[in-house]
Symmetry: C2
Subunit: 354 residues, 2 copies
C-alpha cells in the first residue's frame, strides 16, 4: 500500500492503533500536542535521544525494517539503563521517501514495539513525514530511577574496579561480515548487467553466514542490558560510574576518565571476546583486541565499582573485571598480553571525522 493513500494522520493511526499504555507514569500517549506523564517526587526523570540517518547509521541493503525498528529502540533503551534507570516512554519520528510502502512501516513499528514491550516501555508519540532523500529516524526515550540511585559517568575513583558486561567486538565483526557479503552480491549484480542480464534473472543471493550467526545477531539485534542492571541491584551494588558501550570500549573509557578526573589500567587478556569474534578477526587479518576496543555498537555496560565489592561483582554472571581506575597522572593504559603497556587511544566510531 502506498503511504500517500493514508496521509500523515491516517498512517499514524494505522501504525499506532492498538498500542497499549502500561506504565502508571504514562497519562496520555499519541494524539495530542504532547504526551503527558507524572512521576513521583522521589524519582529522577531521564531523557535520551538519537537521530539515525540512512547510509550513515544504517544500511537498508542488509538491515531489514523490523530489525531496524528493534535496534533503533534498543539503542535508546540502552542509554536509560546506562544511568541505572528504567525506560518508561518512547517517542518515534520517521522521515521517509516515496519508495517506502506502508508494509515497510508496519515492519519497522513491529520491531520497535517488540523491543519496547520486552523492556516495559510505552510508545507515547509517533510522527511520520516525508524525506526527499534517505530515511531518518529520531527516537527519544524517557525513563526514571530512584532519586539516590542515578549513576553518572563522573563518579569513578582511584582503585575502583572497571567492569564490562557480555563480550565486545562482535557487533563490529557482524558489520564487516554484512559489508563483505554486500560487496559479493553487488559484484554479482554488476557482472550480470555486463552480460546484459537483468538482476531479477539471477538466482536468489545466498550470503554465507554459517557459523557466524552470533556476529549477525549482535549487529542486527542488539540487546540492552536490563538483566545486568537488575543483577547489580539484587547484589546491592551501586556502580560509581557507568555508561553503555556504543562507540567502543576505549572511547567510553576516555569519557569516564575525563569526567571523573582519573586514569585507568585495563588488561588485554581480560577483555571479554566471543569465539566467533576471534575467528572472524583472524580471517579478516585484523587484531581482535583492536576490534573489541574500538568496534562500537556492542551496547554492553561499562561500569566501575569500589574495590571492596570485587567478590560480589565477580559473582554476577556475564560481568567481567577488566582493570581498575588509577590516579589521573597515570593516564589511560592498556597492559598487553605480553606484559608491555601502551597508551589507550580513543579511536571509536566518529562519523563526522571520516
Amino acid at each position: 500500500m502506498e503511504i500517500a493513500e493514508l496521509g500523515e494522520f491516517g498512517l499514524i493511526s494505522h501504525l499506532t492503533k492498538d498500542i497499549e499504555l502500561k506504565n502508571a507514569e504514562t497519562l496520555k500517549g499519541i494524539g495530542d500536542d504532547c504526551a503527558v506523564m507524572q512521576y513521583a517526587a522521589d524519582r529522577k526523570v531521564l531523557v535520551t535521544t538519537d537521530l539515525l540517518m540512512e547510509g550513515v547509521h544504517f544500511d537498508l541493503q542488509y538491515m531489514p525494517m523490523k530489525h531496524l525498528g528493534y535496534k533503533s529502540a534498543m539503542v535508546n533503551l540502552s542509554d536509560i539503563y546506562a544511568m541505572n534507570g528504567r525506560p518508561r516512554q518512547m517517542t518515534v519520528s520517521l522521515a521517509l521517501s516515496k519508495r517506502f510502502k506502508v508494509e515497510d512501516l508496519e515492519d519497522f513499528y513491529a520491531g520497535l514495539r517488540m523491543a519496547c514491550e520486552a523492556h516495559g516501555c510505552d510508545v507515547v508519540g509517533g510522527d511520520t513525514s516525508a524525506s526527499l532523500t534517505g530515511m531518518a529516524i529520531s527516537i527519544t526515550c524517557i525513563g526514571d530511577v530512584a532519586a539516590d540511585k542515578v549513576v553518572y559517568r563522573n563518579g569513578a575513583r582511584d582503585t575502583d574496579l572497571i567492569c564490562v558486561s557480555g563480550d565486545l567486538g562482535a557487533a563490529y565483526m557482524g558489520l564487516q561480515l554484512l559489508e563483505r557479503e554486500k560487496m559479493v552480491y553487488n559484484e554479482q549484480l554488476r557482472e550480470a548487467r555486463q552480460r546484459g542480464e537483468k538482476p531479477e534473472s539471477l538466482p536468489p543471493f545466498q550470503p554465507d553466514f554459517s557459523g557466524r550467526e552470533y556476529l549477525l545477531e549482535r549487529q542486527l539485534k542488539p540487546e540492552a542490558r536490563r538483566d545486568i542492571i537488575e543483577a547489580l541491584a539484587k547484589a546491592d551494588i551501586l556502580p560509581t560510574a557507568m555508561m553503555d558501550i556504543s562507540d567502543g570500549l576505549s572511547s567510553e573509557l576516555h569519557h569516564i576518565c575525563k569526567q571523573s578526573h582519573v586514569g585507568c589500567r585495563i588488561y588485554e587478556e581480560r577483555i571479554p571476546l566471543d569465539y566467533q569474534t576471534a575467528v572472524m578477526a583472524e580471517e579478516l587479518n585484523m587484531n581482535v583486541t583492536t576490534c573489541a576496543l574500538n568496534g562500537g555498537e556492542d551496547y554492553e555496560l561499562l561500569f566501575t565499582v569500589p574495590l571492596t565489592l570485587h567478590d560480589r561483582v565477580s559473582a554476577i554472571p556475564g560481568v567481567k573485571v577488566i582493570g581498575h581506575i588509577t590516579k589521573p597522572e597515570l593516564g589511560l593504559q592498556l597492559v598487553c598480553r605480553g606484559g608491555t603497556e601502551m597508551e589507550l587511544k580513543a579511536q571509536g566510531w566518529n562519523p563526522l571525522r571520516r
Copy 2:
C-alpha cells in the same frame, strides 16, 4: 572552519560550552548518557518531538541558519504551551552533510538558544552526526504543568466558545513571498548561465519585501504564545480544549471536534487577519479566508472556553472569539460573510500526501 576538524565530541563541546542550566528541575544537561531531571509530584510532565527535513520542512535557500534554529525551537515550545504547560528542557540532534561549516552550526545554535532563553528552557542534550544528503533536525522539548491544569484536545463541550490568538494566514503568505522571490532569483541565475556569465558576476540579489516585513517575520521567526497562556492564567480561565495552529485552523478544528466528539460553527468574518495578509492574497489572486483556514505554521493558539467566560476571554488583548462548539451531528460549519454556510474541510499541510 570544517566540521571534520573538530569531530563529533569536539563540535558538541564547542557549540554547548557556555550553556547554563536555569531551571531547578534540570539536574544534569549535556555530557552523559541521558539528561536528568526531577519534578515535583504535583506536576505533570509533557514531552513533544519534531523531526524536520531539509527540502520538506525548510528551504535553506531562503532560511538563514539562525532563523532555522530559532524556528525549530519555537515549533516545539509552542506544543508545550498548547497543553497549558511551561517548557523546561530541550534536546537537539542535527545531521549534516559536508557542505556545512562550523559557523553555520554556531548560527543555528545561536538562534535555538535565543528562543530557549526567551522561554526559560534549558538545552540539556545535543548530538551532531553526518548526513549523506540534506540536513535533518530533531528536537524534543519537555515541559511541566500543575497536575490539575493540563489542557487536552478532547475537552470541548457544546456551546463552548472557540477562540484564536493573533492572526492567521500570514506565515503562509510569507512562504509564498519567499518562494516567489526565490523563483525570480533562480531565473536570473539561469539567464546569466545562458549568457555564459558566472553567478558570482551578478549584482547581489535584491528581493522585494518592502511593506511585507510582517509576513516574512511570521514565516521566518514565529513566536510561541506564552503571553496568551499567562494572560489566560491571570484571567483565571482554564480552556476546556486547546492546541496550537501548526497545520492550519480547519485541520486543527477537525482534531478538536473529533477528539471531543462535538461539532463547531465558526464565522468567516471573525477570523483574525492582518492587513498585509489580505493584500498579499489579493495580489496572488488567492482567497484570503482559504489561506487563513489552511495555511499553517501560524503557531497561534486555538482553544475553547465555557460560554459563561465570554466577557472575560474577549477582554484579553490578542484573543478573538471566532465561533462556538455545537452538537456532533451538526458537523463542522463555516458561516461565510454573505451568511451562507459551508462544511469546513481539513485541507491543512500534509507532506505525505503531496
